[in-house]
């Protein structure tokens, strides 16, 4: 049993009671909602004639279905328009703040929470979306929930949960050039498996994690769920506080910052906290990781050979064989040189400003070949504006990338941005499941954003560290 970890402390502060079914009832500090998973929950609420308990602790945005090209209403896709209208009606009736595209604050739900300064250490945060784990980067306890649980939260601002075990993942050492937070988490999932985290919450710690900015920490926490852990977090520190301090919320309420800081400090895991498990990773050994298969755990260093299914644990062999057939890769080969048709820079894993900056550095002065479809979908309207102001948009468009509006886009292909046929996509997103990007024959290769940029330029998976310097004329 863990003791005195951030998880234990935040859990205890939010525990209302133990329910007759053995679960704990937890108070929810922030409920984020979007158009895909909330309408059914509002429907269930109406069926029972219940009201939204705490609209003041609820925030809505639209991300999954928004078109990223033409956003004029009504949307050309009727189903998308219906979902948007339904959300508009629900938030209006309940008095919930809605960061719609007109506000200039819209974006992927896991990008905007932190931007708004609402994602804070020691908060419980839930959303009907598995990547809610992202918010753990701030030392919040954040997890994805299903629609019936959304109903619970809307009706009571609480949630019923069982306490999990805590695994500390200690990442020491320094990252090499071209290697990023994304590679750390892909490596963790490769080693521990996509189910390795079931029943656990992950605490990410160690020098390599502390060295990361908030964006990198978010990329890691984001993919906790791909490793089976419903939540992941990093203890808050000066990096966290610096981010919070410059958000609009704390700029407007500096006194709140001073008032809350002692609480944030108090919920950090104690030095002598007890964990149910500890895992060590040496960050300095990592190289850029790319996936060769159809689960995020099927990753490999870009210069390492794709594994023989026979060399994997027995229960993974069958899945690996099917994945290699789908991806059309051969064990023993490397992923380097794997032809791609599409490059997608986006998603709640890797579409924040520093991600776009690093990718822009790679594409600057280079050209995407004609047979590659490359596009950038910023994580939020704020990211988009900032990137445009500092000239990143121009860098991308001059190199032949399409520059889009904020949304989930090809991360899951619920809008018009989809793979076609058996196209292969170098993607900065988090899931490479069959069919995920809109075509059931589509092939997704997950990698960090610099690697996506390099793949776009060469039309094939490329070790970004081998790209030659662009000689300026």
């Amino acid at each position: 049993m863990s003791d005195n970890t951030l998880y234990d402390k935040v859990w205890d502060r939010h525990k209302v009671t133990t329910l007759p079914n053995g679960q704990d009832q937890l108070f929810v500090g922030l409920h984020l909602i979007h158009e895909v998973t909330s309408p059914q929950a509002f429907g269930m609420l109406q069926e029972r004639d219940l009201e939204v308990a705490r609209p003041d602790l609820t925030l809505a945005t639209v991300d999954h279905i928004v078109p990223t090209a033409d956003q004029s209403r009504p949307y050309s896709d009727d189903a998308a328009e219906e979902m948007m209208s339904e959300l508009e009606e629900n938030v209006r009736d309940a008095g919930i703040e809605f960061l719609s595209p007109e506000t200039g604050e819209q974006g992927i739900v896991h990008v905007i929470g932190p931007e708004q300064g609402l994602t804070q250490p020691g908060k419980t945060i839930v959303c009907g979306d598995s990547h809610t784990s992202t918010h753990g980067a701030f030392g919040a306890l954040a997890f994805g929930i299903g629609t019936s649980q959304i109903r619970d939260v809307l009706a009571t601002q609480t949630i019923a949960m069982e306490k999990q075990k805590v695994r500390k993942i200690q990442v020491d050492g320094e990252l090499a050039e071209g290697v990023e937070a994304k590679d750390i988490i892909l490596e963790i999932i490769r080693r521990l498996g996509t189910e390795g985290g079931v029943g656990y919450v992950y605490e990410y710690a160690g020098e390599a994690i502390e060295d990361l900015g908030m964006e990198g920490r978010m990329s890691i926490c984001n993919m906790s769920i791909e490793g089976g852990a419903r939540a992941g977090y990093v203890n808050p520190d000066e990096t966290t506080y610096e981010w919070l301090e410059q958000t609009d919320y704390f700029q407007e309420h500096p006194e709140k910052f001073e008032e809350l800081k002692p609480y944030w400090e108090s919920i950090r895991s104690d030095d002598d906290a007890e964990y149910d498990d500890v895992v060590h990773i040496d960050a300095s050994e990592l190289e850029p990781v790319v996936t060769w298969g159809t689960t995020p755990g099927q990753g490999v260093g870009v210069t390492d050979p794709i594994p023989e299914p026979e060399d994997l644990p027995p229960e993974k062999q069958d899945t690996a064989r099917r994945a290699q057939e789908h991806m059309r890769v051969e064990p023993g080969d490397t992923m380097e040189g794997y032809d791609i048709d599409v490059a997608f820079l986006g998603s709640c894993t890797n579409a924040r400003l520093p991600d776009l900056r690093r990718a822009a550095e790679i594409v600057e002065g280079r050209q995407v070949p004609d047979d590659v479809r490359a596009f950038v979908v910023p994580g939020s309207q704020r990211v988009q504006r900032a990137a445009e102001e500092e000239g990143l948009k121009d860098v991308f468009t001059e190199a032949g990338f399409d520059w889009r509006n904020a949304g989930c886009s090809m991360c899951l292909g619920m809008n018009e941005d989809q793979l076609e046929g058996d196209e292969a996509c170098a993607s900065s997103s988090n899931r490479n499941f069959v069919g995920r990007q809109g075509s059931k024959d589509g092939r997704t290769v997950l990698m960090n954003p610099q690697m996506v940029a390099a793949a776009a330029i060469n039309g094939e998976v490329t070790d970004v560290r081998d790209l030659e310097e662009v000689v300026s004329v």
Partner: protein, 205 residues
Amino acid sequence: MSREADEVEIPEVKEVTGSGIPIRGNDIDTDQIIPARFMKVVTFDGLGEFSFFDQRFDDEDEPKDHPMNEDRFQDANIMVVNANFGCGSSREHAPQALMRWGIDAFIGESFAEIFAGNCLALGMPTVTGDQETIEDLQNFVDENPDAEIDIDVADETVTYDGKTVDVTVDEGQRKALVDGIWDTTALMKANQQAISETADGLPYV
């Protein structure tokens, strides 16, 4: 404390009886169970026919080989699956779709946690057994699609073919199903006072 006027009757799920359908393979994710393109809906009604759509139909919407397309399994209400079933996204659309197709319970080697939680919220057990138990059951169901299978949630057993095998039901899930306390909205709404007190104790609320 006063009972809520909106309280709903929550049925007890002590037992599920019916016939089985085997869905083989590990790591079957929710994108396979219900592809994202069918989630552009504002209610769950009508999702059933899109369950496993891309496994069941080809590009021309012609049926492919899949147990859910076979006549002999059309009345099945117990899905027998392998390891890590329902991994991937937290979409409740997945169990909702399978429930609407006709499934009342799952027996498998293991389930993704959120998927199991979503099932519980619908009153559907996710019962687990070891690999051998599950494969035996899958083979049996394949050969005897009409045979009766009985899941005893309270006793943690599955009875079929004249024998009873041990399975596991997560402790919390078992209690919730057997005692009819799996509808958490009703359970939690009753604690209004304690909710307010907890909120008052939080510096940020």
